[in-house]
């Protein structure tokens, strides 16, 4: 069956609470204090019911609980929330079940609740191993919290762990980054996400940036940082499988791979995005509006159909993020009757000529993937596909 028409096998759930707001963050998240968390979890359950009624799932193979900070839930809230997920969705026994966590919000009790509730992968928002830098970007945890959290997680029995690190941060130096990477590698985790800072609108950083008060590293430095990361991770046996992600073989994030393959996913919770049957939705973002809406309907802010041309462009835009690239046969599976080379011929040719893409032949199938230089200039490649489908 065409994967675009099938029921999603991936489930994303958003917990929009944080203990505070980081300076670079523009996601749907609200400072926890005084928020009606239990009512929110009630509403979430309503959304689960209506969602499975509207689009019954076959089998959920990946779950990702993101935020915000899902780990701000208390152990009882956590237990109740996870139970509801399993109650409404047919989660496969071997499903990947990831939860985002903040160092500093994960004591043993909570980790035990997560473990008992079915979580089997944790992604920690570490960002840096430099306390000064952590403070500068508005994080509430420090380096000790990082070590303690990871220790706790392992003690409870989690072994599929990942941490996020950021680079291109204000005043961050190459030496600081090298030190953070060194310490990250010493942890010997199976997965690392390494993100460069992007200044988003409606953040403190954006305001500072507008006022010319955000001393970001120059493009050259950021380039050096990215090179350093790639080198270090490779040396330590990690495979660079997506622009920002590195893993030991077999530990690639299965959930995120769904996005990158342009496949459908359920999206629940305030501000969550979902994609199914070539339709995308965005949920209401405010906590109260979200709670109110769930009393009578699906809490949609926007629902829009994705025309075939846009879906094909998205396929390339997200698919090329994977270093394995996209397969022409997979394109044809998703868009029956369309051929990748017919739809994007000139764009592909130009990227090949510019040395940003390369074409490989595998079992009579064409594979297109970013070259080494293409990885560094991914936006140039992705951008070329936007509005280019014919």
């Amino acid at each position: 069956m065409n994967p675009l028409q099938a029921s999603p096998k991936a489930l994303y759930i958003h917990i929009p609470f944080c203990t505070n707001k980081c300076h670079y963050c523009d996601f749907t998240s609200y400072v926890l204090k005084g928020q009606p968390v239990d009512q929110y979890l009630d509403a979430l359950e309503e959304e689960m019911k209506r969602t499975v009624a509207a689009l019954p799932p076959q089998r959920i193979e990946t779950v990702f609980v993101g935020g915000g900070t899902p780990t701000v839930l208390t152990p009882p809230q956590m237990e109740r929330f996870l139970k509801s997920v399993f109650a409404h969705f047919p989660i496969a026994a071997d499903a990947e079940f990831t939860m985002e966590a903040n160092p500093g919000t994960t004591d043993i009790d909570k980790l035990q609740a997560m473990k008992a509730g079915g979580v089997n992968r944790i992604s920690f928002g570490v960002q840096s191993f430099d306390n000064g830098l952590l403070e500068r970007i508005g994080r509430i945890h420090n380096v000790d919290d990082v070590y303690r959290s990871l220790e706790n997680a392992r003690a409870v029995g989690f072994d599929n762990l990942s941490i996020d690190l950021m680079f291109g941060l204000p005043k961050q130096t190459l030496a600081q980054l090298a030190d953070s990477v060194e310490r990250a590698m010493a942890l010997g985790l199976p997965h690392y996400s390494l993100y460069s800072l992007k200044v988003e609108e409606n953040t403190l950083f954006h305001k500072l940036y507008e006022r010319n008060e955000l001393p970001l590293p120059a493009e050259e430095e950021e380039y050096e940082m990215f090179l350093l990361l790639m080198k270090k991770l490779k040396e330590n046996g990690y495979r660079h499988y997506e622009i920002s992600n590195f893993a030991k073989p077999g530990y690639e994030s299965r959930h995120n791979s769904v996005y990158w393959r342009n496949e459908p996913y359920y999206g629940l919770g305030a501000g969550a995005h979902g994609y199914a049957k070539r339709e995308r939705h965005v949920n209401l973002k405010g906590i109260q509006p979200y709670i109110e809406a769930n009393k009578e309907r699906l809490p949609r802010l926007e629902v829009y159909d994705i025309p075939e041309s846009e879906a094909m462009e998205d396929f390339m835009m997200v698919g090329l993020r994977l270093l394995d690239g996209v397969r022409a046969s997979r394109f044809e599976e998703q868009f029956p009757g369309r051929k990748l080379e017919d739809v994007f011929g000139p764009v592909i040719e130009k990227q090949l000529r510019d040395g940003l893409l390369e074409r490989l032949e595998r079992d009579g199938d064409f594979v297109y993937r970013l070259t080494e230089r293409g990885v560094l200039l991914g936006n140039e490649v992705f951008g070329a596909f936007i509005t280019a489908a014919v």
């Binding site: 996005y259 969550a272 995308r280 940003l356």
Partner: protein, 605 residues
């Protein structure tokens, strides 16, 4: 006939001279209101009605000349024609023709600020046209008003008797009646003979989609009515009059325009080029022996290339220029092509403001993104074989071996500045190859500086410099003073080893190095990083005189897809793509719009 002559005695034609912000339009509004042409409520309504009219009929009505009736203190009713004039140096000729349609002018001077260069230039135009100039001291209700000082200035600087100048505040409605009384008593009625063959001065025109060109005239001799066959004396074109009318202020059809009248003529004219400002309209069957004096064919002073960013917009650009030309007799254009920019048009303008207006209208009203090349003046070159050419495009500049000598246009520039800025302005003018002519004190605080200066130096960043160096306190005016031999060279710019014809400029040899360096630096700043390193070079002939490098793009890649939010990522990439659309692919390099004007926007300090 006595009726006509009696009527003639009651006509007063006048215009208003004022510096920008000194209150010209407010005063005009007040006069309209006072004479009952419009009530203050109708002032609003009128605007709306006109917009409706424009919408319904697709026409634009300019409040260019208004007929008013005013019952004066002597008990008589007078017919006043207030003729509006454009207020910018680019349109000096049009202003002079509008004035030639009047017998008098109100000189409105801000009681706090005094006379400005532009005002002065227009007062001299008025005096040249033998107008009765009536000083009005406006904004007397301002706390900083110094009416006596300003009067003294008017007397000292212009030599006008200001003792009876009306103290007015157009904003507060003070002095309006006094002004109207002076118009009636001091401005003479029009001369002219109703029995002579028709002579009418064209002082403006506009294109109406339904009626064709509507010609604005002032009748000097004879009369004009529907059915009459008319001839434009300079162009020789002949038409039959369909209707005549007056602006009251709405266009109103009347039976006849007679001696001294100001109004409009509709005669099925298709092209504004047939109705040149300053031309004389006469009776085709009984033509006047001589046209009115002062007609001049106006020529563009400044040329630049206009190119569509998207090649497929070429035809739309041509249509846009055709449409603008309908209403703008001074706009010139002809197709040209550039190796770098493809097909476009070489366009001639009266000056920089005129150029900016046209560019902006094409981008806004016709929605065609444009590349504008740096404006050039017209150089007169003489080749070694004796041939002479006018060069309005630096790419056509002959190679040095074939060139005998070259002349460039000079202007006489008058700058009025407060004392404190004299030093910095002299420095600026000298830096612009200006030759000092004269310095005159207007009063204890303000000075007029006169310089002879190459027009190309004024085109090159002069206004901005003047403004920034004087904190906006300087006012400035210029007129063409002739051509002079100069030591000029053509400087070329190369991007990634390829010469970009659209970036070539003609510069004085002594400044070539400095300017080449600045242009290269500016280009480096404006051209975004490309996939490869881009050398930027300035050269004269084969000699490279400056070089910079735009480094290659190293890293441009986004972080993660947060929670499956694909649309955010997509929007960002769409924005990136949109940005690229505003750039022109020149050879292998993507060059943003602004870079083509960069040679002008330069701070040499």
């Amino acid at each position: 006939m006595t009726d006509v002559r009696d009527r003639q005695k009651k006509i007063r034609n006048f215009s208003i001279i004022a510096h920008i912000d000194h209150g010209k339009s407010t005063l005009a509004d007040r006069i309209l209101e006072y004479t009952g042409a419009l009530s203050s409520r109708e002032m609003q309504a009128q605007v709306l009605d006109q917009m409706d009219l424009e919408r319904e009929r697709g026409i634009t009505i300019k409040l260019q000349a208004v007929r008013l009736t005013y019952r004066a203190d002597d008990g008589e009713e007078y017919l006043l024609n207030l003729i509006d004039t454009p207020g910018h140096v680019d349109f000096t000729y049009e202003v002079s023709r509008s004035m030639a349609a009047c017998e008098g002018a109100l000189l409105v001077v801000d009681a706090a600020q005094g006379i400005e260069a532009q005002t002065l230039a227009n007062v001299y135009l008025a005096l040249d046209n033998n107008l009765e100039v009536l000083p009005v001291i406006n904004k007397i209700d301002l706390p900083s008003a110094e009416p006596e000082r300003v009067k003294q200035e008017i007397e000292d600087v212009i030599g006008l008797d200001a003792s009876e100048a009306v103290h007015a505040s157009a904003k507060a409605g003070i002095g309006i009646k006094e002004i109207l009384e002076q118009v009636v008593t001091k401005i003479p009625p029009p001369n002219g003979d109703p029995d002579q063959p028709l002579k009418a001065l064209i002082f403006d025109s506009h294109y109406d989609a339904y009626k064709g060109v509507i010609v604005y005239v002032r009748v000097v001799d004879g009369s004009i009515r529907a059915g009459k066959k008319i001839r434009f004396m300079a162009t020789g074109a002949e038409f039959e009059v369909i209707e005549v009318g007056a602006f009251k202020p709405r266009m109103t059809i009347v039976d006849e325009l007679s001696v001294g009248d100001v109004g409009f003529v509709v005669a099925g004219i298709k092209n504004v080029k047939d109705t040149r400002v300053g031309d004389t309209v006469t009776d085709a069957k009984r033509p006047a022996p001589e046209p009115l004096p002062g007609y001049r064919r106006i020529n563009p002073m400044v040329y630049c290339g206009l190119y569509p960013i998207e090649t497929q917009d070429y035809n739309d650009l041509r249509e846009a220029l055709e449409k603008l030309e309908l209403n703008d007799a001074s706009l010139r254009y002809e197709p040209e092509s550039s190796t770098a920019l493809g097909f476009g048009f070489r366009c001639g303008f009266l000056g920089l403001l005129h150029m900016e207006i046209i560019q902006e209208r094409i981008e806004r009203e016709f929605n065609i993104p444009l590349i504008t090349t740096a404006p050039s003046v017209i150089y007169k070159v003489t080749l070694t074989n004796g041939e002479q050419h006018d060069i309005d495009n630096p790419s056509n500049y002959p190679e040095s071996g074939r060139l005998d000598y070259v002349e460039e246009p000079y202007v006489k520039a008058s700058i009025i500045v407060p004392n404190d800025y004299v030093g910095t302005i002299m420095e600026l003018c000298q830096g612009k190859r200006g030759e000092f002519l004269n310095m005159e004190y207007l009063d204890t605080n303000r000075v007029t500086l006169s310089y002879d200066m190459p027009l190309s130096e004024i085109v090159y960043d002069f206004f901005d410099q003047l403004k920034s160096r004087t904190k906006g306190y300087a006012s400035f005016d210029y007129e063409l003073s002739g051509y002079r031999k100069s030591n000029l060279v053509k400087m070329d710019i190369m991007l990634n080893g390829e010469q970009v014809d659209a970036l070539s400029v003609i510069v004085h040899r002594d400044r070539a190095y400095q300017r080449g360096r600045i242009i290269c630096e500016k280009m480096k700043e404006l051209i975004p990083r490309q996939m490869f390193e881009v050398p930027v070079q300035a050269s004269i002939g084969t000699k490279v005189i400056a070089r910079e490098t735009v480094k290659a793009m190293r890293k441009n890649v986004l972080a993660k897809c947060y929670g499956g939010d694909i649309s955010r990522k997509r929007k960002l990439l769409e924005k990136q793509k949109e940005g690229k659309k505003r750039m022109k692919q020149v050879g292998s390099v993507e060059v943003p719009q602004e870079a083509f004007m960069a040679v002008l926007k330069i701070d040499e300090d």
